[in-house]
């Protein structure tokens, strides 16, 4: 009984959050956890459905700025991103929730804010492959491990262009990944690219 009282007091304290440090992440996350108790999360809408709804909304709004649609099927997540930066041909796309994706000629260079981010990827071989009928190249994708140190996954890839679609098949020591890029006027308009072992594939589409 006495512990139940203590727990209630604790919960109330955290929910009300006293002091000038109420924005503390610890307080906030405990508060979120307490508020979520007993609530079943809403069933996620399938990714494809979310995507269509977003595309429709953007068309209806008649937006003119370029928009990037990124879906992570393994996380059932879809985000729309706008251009945030352009440095040496790498475009950084940013969404309101703090996720960013950087692309060079449509090939993913890095991500931020996804937890298992692709810190940086050597994409020069893949970018060159988009302009060729057939090619082979290597690429390295780098991640942070649990200790905060960078480690790389080396991939050796072969790419092939067929009917305005480039298929890039890559092998590491333990896995095989397939990236596909759909081209229009020599630009990537739609693609499916492997982000990493935890995030899986991203489906990317540029609108406008």
């Amino acid at each position: 009984m006495i512990f139940r009282v203590a727990f209630l007091i604790l919960a109330v304290l955290i929910l009300t959050g006293c002091g000038s440090r109420a924005q503390d992440p610890l307080v906030q996350s405990v508060r979120a956890a307490v508020q979520n108790v007993g609530q079943t999360p809403a069933a996620p809408t399938p990714v494809a459905q979310q995507r269509l709804a977003i595309i429709q909304a953007i068309r209806d709004a008649g937006a003119e700025d370029p928009i990037l649609l990124v879906a992570l099927p393994e996380r059932s997540a879809v985000a729309t991103l706008g251009v945030g930066g352009d440095n040496l041909g790498v475009i950084t796309w940013i969404d309101a929730g703090g996720v960013s994706v950087a692309l060079k000629n449509g090939v993913i260079v890095s991500t931020r804010g996804l937890g298992h981010d692709l810190i940086v990827s050597d994409v020069s071989g893949s970018v060159a492959a988009l302009k060729m009928k057939r090619s082979s190249h290597t690429r390295e994708q780098r991640y942070l491990n649990g200790e905060g140190q960078l480690h790389g996954i080396e991939l050796s890839c072969a790419a092939e262009l067929e009917a305005k679609k480039v298929t890039e098949t890559c092998h590491s020591e333990t896995r095989r990944v397939v990236n596909t890029y759909e081209l229009k006027h020599n630009r990537v308009i739609r693609s499916r690219q492997w982000l990493g072992p935890e995030l899986g594939y991203a489906e990317i589409e540029q609108l406008q």
């Binding site: 007091i9 307080v27 945030g84 930066g85």
Partner: protein, 695 residues
């Protein structure tokens, strides 16, 4: 008793029935843990090691014996364990239960080869009171992928001797805690051995012939041993948790749970917090016209303030010229200093006019400048997306001593500033001889008034709401000045308690020097003046410090009064970072009871902020006068909270496990000791987290 046995037998049957439900074949025999919480069969050890840095908590129970063990793989070969055991009915006349603390070490000396087995040598209970005192050499060999054989020879308890037989009858004053090296690997020895069979991916069956005869336990009627054969089942629920059940010595059933954690792993290694600002590349024109335009300067200061606040960074000072910016930054959000530097740099590219090329970012901790990272804006533009961007940036950055001149104040509202918080707290007291764990829950009010950079007035008050720490009422039996052994009286009588109330001043007396002066109620038991000076060059792995404290013991009620005892205590300290995550510290000086001596501590720190260490203090207080334990020692842990919160935070959870709180080798606690608050800003701290520069 029969009820309990029925329950344990039921647990064993349950686990056995689980064994054949998941027909996935394991690639090799998985590492299992003994009832002692170390790599092993059931009571016997094996010659295997856990993965590097694995931290395993084990609780095992059988027939009146409880063992709670924390084991840590210090290096790939060396592991250590700390254990707290309860032996019902063995406490003698004073109390019924014997609570015992013990430390183990195991070193794998030989790796398994195609023919040769893995070989390890180990010490159990080598500085405890000796209940589990034993030594062993053990070999383990895998046969195929599903069976492993283990054989070894043991001395002491593992040589089928009782622990009282081993105790030296001439050493009447042995208080435990001493290294009885002369008796290691001596006397009667006995063989032990066993087999582990990996049935499938989750389940393992273990069978052993034990060389432990539980002589005292049997004599004390705690166990009724019939033979030396044990059989056990290990069932792995997931990567972290395993359950075990045993049938022991033909007599009884037992259960155990192992919970594993590895500081090297993290749920979301790069964090899910917001992306940084991208670098804004410059155009061709580098106009200097803005330098003399007040409006332009004011606008860019406002933009800088907004963007930095957005990133959780506080601008303490700014000096901007036509081609160079100097900025003092306080990091309130990121666990890793390199990330704070990287984000500051990118904000600067967004806001500053194109003519500013040289970036000098100074990190300030507690209001004092610590180190400066300097690089060109061109490098930032060039390497933002480069495949070797982190390495290139590090090559192009100079990490050096901060510029000690005070920069123009950026934000006049920063000082003075008042912050406060009211929140719950939970605190625990471990290893009371009568009750192993006691806990208190209550409210804590803390407040801080930052008067000027480096000058703080801070305090905290606590009030217990519910708890049982006040049940700790065993009086101190210490024969020397009671400087810590009456801690339970402070815990009991201090409600409400003024925990701290101090005025602290942090400053830079010169190059590579840091100073601190703290005055007031320093901690729960002492008040006074504490002064510290630290020498730590930015690039150096070595640091030296000196600290002097004039303190008076506070009243048990922890309000404003004092007891009569006062003392001058202080140390000369040497700190060394080995560069591979290992840190050593040696302190020489005078301790709270007026005793002179030295403390040695070794910590292993992981790049993600986890830290695990051990310390020991030897002073001129004799082992006899010290009392139980013979000398002060303990384990300490620091766990960063950001991985659990899923967002960046500089908060950490720290705990020190001190098996016995006595009066010899005790030190005063002061907030904000210099070395720990400075070193993360220096070269080794920055470089070890540099992978996050572009995060």
């Amino acid at each position: 008793m029969t009820e309990k046995r029925k329950l344990l037998r039921y647990a064993l049957v349950c686990l056995l029935s689980c064994l054949w439900t998941t027909p996935v074949w394991a690639e090799s025999v998985r590492l299992s843990f003994s009832t002692y919480g170390t790599p092993g069969l059931i009571d016997m050890p094996v010659a295997l090691s856990a993965p590097d840095a694995e931290l395993v908590v084990t609780a095992s129970y059988f027939e009146n014996i409880t063992r709670s063990t924390l084991s840590f793989q210090i290096t790939p070969r060396l592991s250590a364990a700390f254990r707290y055991s309860g032996l019902e009915g063995l406490g003698g006349s004073v109390r019924d239960n014997l609570f015992d603390r013990s430390f183990d070490l195991q070193l794998r000396v030989l790796d398994e080869g195609r023919v040769v087995p893995a070989v390890a040598i180990g010490l159990r209970d080598f500085i405890g009171t000796g209940v589990y005192s034993s030594e062993y050499i053990v070999a383990t060999k895998n046969i195929g992928t599903r069976v492993s054989l283990t054989g070894g020879v043991g001395w002491g308890r593992l040589g089928r001797r009782g622990y009282l037989e081993r105790a030296d009858p001439t050493a009447t004053t042995n208080q435990g805690g001493q290294f009885e090296t002369t008796r290691w690997f001596r006397g009667k020895a006995a063989f032990f051995g066993g087999v582990a069979w990996q049935i499938n991916d989750r389940a393992q069956l273990k069978l052993e012939y034990s060389s432990d005869s539980y002589i005292q336990e049997e004599a004390g009627a705690a166990i009724d041993r019939r033979n030396q054969v044990n059989i056990g089942v290990d069932y792995r629920l997931n990567d972290k948790v395993a359950l075990q059940a045993f049938h022991l010595y033909g007599a009884t059933f037992g259960v155990a749970i192992n919970v594993r954690n590895n500081p090297k792993s993290a749920k979301s290694p790069s964090g899910t917090h917001a992306a940084p600002y991208p670098v804004r590349p410059r155009g061709a024109a580098r106009d200097l016209g803005w330098v003399n335009e007040d409006v332009a300067r004011r606008t860019l200061r406002e933009a800088l303030a907004i963007a930095m606040r957005h990133e959780g960074l506080v601008v303490e000072g700014l000096d901007l010229s036509g081609t160079r910016v100097q900025i003092h930054v306080r990091n309130t959000r990121y666990n890793f200093t390199a990330e704070a530097v990287g984000r500051t740099a990118r904000v600067l590219t967004q806001v500053l006019p194109d003519s500013v090329e040289q970036f000098e970012i100074t990190l300030s901790g507690n209001g004092v400048a610590t180190s400066q990272v300097r690089f060109s804006r061109t490098a930032l533009e060039r390497y933002e997306h480069a495949p070797d961007g982190p390495e290139r940036m590090l090559q192009n950055a100079r990490i050096q001593e901060a510029n000690l001149e005070t920069l123009p104040r950026f934000d006049p509202t920063l000082y003075p500033r008042f912050t406060w918080g009211l929140g719950p707290y939970l605190r625990a007291s471990y290893f009371d001889p009568d009750r192993p764990v006691l806990a208190d829950f209550g409210l804590r009010l803390n407040a801080e008034y930052s008067i000027a950079p480096g000058l703080f007035l801070a305090g905290s008050v606590r009030k217990t709401i519910v708890g049982n720490i006040d049940q700790s009422d065993r009086p101190s039996n210490s024969v020397i000045q009671r400087v810590r052994s009456e801690s339970n009286r402070f815990l009991r009588e201090g409600d409400p308690a003024l925990e701290t109330l101090t005025l602290a001043y942090l400053f830079r007396p010169g190059r590579a020097l840091y100073g601190r002066i703290t005055l007031g109620y320093l901690e729960a038991q002492y008040a006074g003046l504490s002064a510290e000076l630290l020498w730590k060059p930015v690039q150096s792995r070595l640091a030296l410090g000196i600290e002097v404290n004039f303190v008076k013991q506070r009243d048990f009620d922890q309000l404003f009064g004092f007891q009569s005892y006062d003392v001058t205590t202080g140390h000369i300290s040497g700190y060394y970072s080995f560069g591979n995550g290992y840190h050593a510290q040696v302190d020489v000086g005078r301790y709270l009871a007026g005793d002179w001596g030295t403390s040695i501590s070794i910590d292993r720190e992981f790049a993600n902020g986890w830290r695990i260490g051990a310390y020991a203090t030897f002073t001129d207080v004799s082992f006899e006068d010290f009392g139980e334990g013979s000398f002060d020692k303990g384990l300490r842990f620091t766990i960063p909270l950001s991985p659990f919160l899923g967002q960046p935070s500089r908060r950490k959870f720290g705990v020190t496990l001190q098996p016995l709180t006595r009066d010899g080798g005790a030190r005063v606690h002061v907030d904000g000791r210099l070395y720990e608050s400075v070193r993360n800003f220096h070269a080794s701290g920055l470089e070890s987290s540099w992978g996050r520069f572009w995060r």
